[in-house]
C-alpha cells in the first residue's frame, strides 16, 4: 500500500513537540529508511504509522485516502524484541497468526515452515531466554513477517546488537526483504545501515522532527558488500552525515 504523511505533527500532553510538519511518502514495495538523531521523533512517527498514536496535526493517507484507524494495518516491530518469556520461540512468532484467528496448531505449522529462513531451526521449542540477542531479534522479525501485513514498521531492530551480529542481520534482512517483497519502513540512527538496505532515505532534523533531506540510493538493492566500498556510497553517507550535523 502507499503510505503518505502530510504535514504530520505530534505534540504530547506534556508540551513536548516530537514532530512538526513532516512530509513523507512510501510507495508499495518500497524499502524506506528514516534516519535521525536520537529524540527526533522517529519512533513517534512509526507509532503513528502503526496506529498507536494519533497525530495532533496533519494527516496520514493510505492509498490516497485519509486513514481513520491504522491499528492492525501494519506489522510493527518495537525497539525491544518483546518476546514473551512464557512462550516458546515458535509460539512467540505465531502470536500474530493466532490473533488473526488461526488455531494454535495452524499458527504453529505456518511459523514452523518459516523458522529455517529466519535461522531459528532447532530452537522452535526453546524459550526466548535461551536465545542469543541476534536470534531473539530474528524471532521478533519472524513474528513481524508472520503478522501477514503488507507494511512492516521496524523500529531500530538492530540497535541493541553487537557490530558483527548487526552486519550479519543486515545482510539477512536484505535477503529476506528481497525474497518477500513488502513495504518496509525502517527507523534507524545508523547511516550505513540505512544506505545499505533502503531504496530511499529520509533524514530528519532534531526535535521537532521534519524532513531535512531525501535521498534515493543507487545502485538499486539488493546491494552487496562491494557497494559499501564504492566512492558513490561514501559520498552518500557523507551527505547524510552532514545533514545530521556531522561535518
Amino acid at each position: 500500500m502507499t503510505l503518505e504523511a502530510r504535514g504530520l505533527g505530534m505534540t504530547f500532553a506534556g508540551g513536548v513537540t516530537a514532530l512538526d510538519g513532516l512530509d513523507l511518502r512510501v510507495e508499495p514495495g518500497e524499502f524506506v529508511a528514516v534516519v535521525g538523531p536520537s529524540g527526533c521523533g522517529k519512533s513517534t512517527l512509526l507509532a503513528m504509522f502503526a496506529g498507536l498514536l494519533t497525530p495532533t496535526s496533519g494527516e496520514i493517507l493510505v492509498d490516497g485516502a485519509p486513514a481513520t484507524s491504522l491499528l492492525g494495518r501494519a506489522a510493527y516491530m518495537p525497539q525491544r524484541d518483546c518476546l514473551m518469556p512464557w512462550r516458546t520461540v515458535l509460539d512467540n512468532c505465531a502470536v500474530g497468526l493466532e490473533l488473526a484467528g488461526a488455531s494454535r496448531r495452524q499458527a504453529r505449522e505456518r511459523a514452523r515452515a518459516e523458522v529455517g529462513r529466519f535461522g531459528l531451526e532447532g530452537f522452535e521449542d526453546r524459550r526466548p531466554a535461551e536465545l542469543s540477542g541476534g536470534m531473539r531479534q530474528r524471532a521478533a522479525l519472524l513474528r513481524t513477517f508472520l503478522a501477514g501485513r503488507d507494511l512492516l514498521l521496524l523500529d531500530e531492530p538492530f540497535a541493541a546488537l553487537d557490530a558483527l551480529t548487526r552486519r550479519d542481520l543486515q545482510d539477512w534482512l536484505r535477503d529476506v526483504a528481497e525474497a518477500d517483497r513488502r513495504t518496509i519502513v525502517l527507523v534507524t540512527h545508523d547511516v550505513t545501515e540505512a544506505a545499505y538496505l533502503a531504496d530511499r532515505i529520509y533524514v530528519l532534523t532534531e526535535r521537532p522532527g521534519r524532513v531535512a533531506l531525501e535521498e534515493t540510493v543507487e545502485p538499486p538493492r539488493p546491494r552487496g558488500p562491494e557497494v559499501l566500498a564504492s566512492p558513490e556510497f561514501a559520498a552518500l553517507q557523507r551527505r547524510l552525515l552532514v545533514t545530521l550535523g556531522f561535518a
Binding site: 502503526a50 510493527y76 518495537p78 518483546c82 514473551m84 512464557w86 490473533l99 524459550r127 531466554a129 535461551e130
Partner: protein, 254 residues
C-alpha cells in the same frame, strides 16, 4: 533429587534445634508443664495420634475451603481492580482498611452471624488470606511490559485478549508469591477461627490442652499444625513449578 537435596540444610538445622532443646531441658531440669523434652512431645504425638488425626482432618477441611475462598475473592478482586480505574479508586482503600480492623474483633461477629459450623472459619480464613494475594496479583498485572501490550494492539488484540495473552501470564509469578503468603495465613486463620468458636479442630485442641496444662500435648498439636502448613506451602510450590517452568528456567540461567 533436586527437592531432596534442597531439604538437606533445613532438616539438619531442625535437628540442631531439637538437640539444643533436648540439652536445655536436660541441663536446666525445667518442668514439663513449662517446656517438655522432645521425647515427651514425641510420646504425646504417638499417644494422642487418634485425637490428633480426627481433629487434623477438621482443620485441614477448614483450611482448604477457606484457602479456596481466599483465592476466589483475592483473584477476582485483583482482576476487577486492575480492569477499572474507578473500582480501584473506590475499593482499594477499603481493602487496606479490611486488614486494619483487628480480626480478633471481627471473628466473634462472624460466629454470631453464622454459628459454630464451617462458615465462620471460612470467613476468617478468607479475610486474613485474600489480601496479600489480591495485592501481589494487582502488582503483577501492572508489571506487564507496556511495549508488548502496544505490540499486541497493533496485531489486533483487544483488551480481553491482551489480558489473556500478556498480562495474566506476566502476573503469574506475583500471583504465586501471593498464594504462598496466603497459604501460611490460612493455617493461622483456621486456628484462630477455632479459638473463637469451635468444638473441634486442632485450634480447639490447643485451647483444651492449654486449660489442662498438658504442655507436651499442646506441642504435639503445634507440630501437626506446622506439618499441615508446610504441606500446603509445598503443594503451592509444586504447582508453581508445574505452571511456571519458564520462570524457574530463566532464573536458573541468571
Amino acid at each position: 533429587m533436586r527437592v531432596l537435596r534442597g531439604a538437606g540444610p533445613p532438616v539438619a538445622f531442625a535437628a540442631l534445634v531439637v538437640a539444643a532443646w533436648a540439652l536445655l531441658t536436660a541441663v536446666t531440669g525445667i518442668p514439663e508443664s513449662s517446656l517438655p523434652t522432645p521425647g515427651q512431645v514425641a510420646a504425646a504425638l504417638w499417644d494422642d495420634r487418634a485425637v490428633l488425626a480426627d481433629n487434623a482432618w477438621v482443620t485441614i477441611g477448614e483450611i482448604l475451603v477457606g484457602y479456596a475462598a481466599a483465592i476466589a475473592v483475592g483473584l477476582s478482586l485483583a482482576i476487577v481492580i486492575h480492569a477499572s480505574r474507578a473500582v480501584e479508586r473506590a475499593v482499594y482503600p477499603w481493602l487496606v482498611v479490611s486488614q486494619m480492623v483487628p480480626i480478633v474483633a471481627i471473628a466473634p461477629i462472624f460466629v454470631i452471624w453464622t454459628g459454630f459450623d464451617l462458615r465462620p472459619k471460612v470467613m476468617v480464613i478468607a479475610l486474613v488470606a485474600f489480601f496479600p494475594l489480591a495485592v501481589s496479583t494487582i502488582d503483577g498485572l501492572k508489571a506487564a511490559d507496556p511495549e508488548l501490550l502496544r505490540l499486541l494492539r497493533t496485531l489486533g488484540a483487544g483488551r480481553v485478549t491482551r489480558f489473556r495473552i500478556a498480562q495474566w501470564p506476566a502476573a503469574l509469578p506475583s500471583v504465586f508469591s501471593g498464594l504462598k503468603v496466603a497459604a501460611a495465613l490460612s493455617v493461622i486463620g483456621a486456628v484462630f477461627a477455632e479459638w473463637v468458636g469451635s468444638g473441634e479442630g486442632l485450634g480447639y485442641l490447643v485451647l483444651t490442652y492449654n486449660n489442662q496444662v498438658a504442655t507436651a500435648d499442646m506441642f504435639a498439636v503445634i507440630v501437626v499444625l506446622g506439618a499441615i502448613g508446610i504441606a500446603l506451602y509445598g503443594l503451592v510450590l509444586l504447582a508453581e513449578r508445574l505452571v511456571l517452568p519458564w520462570y524457574h528456567d530463566e532464573r536458573r540461567a541468571l
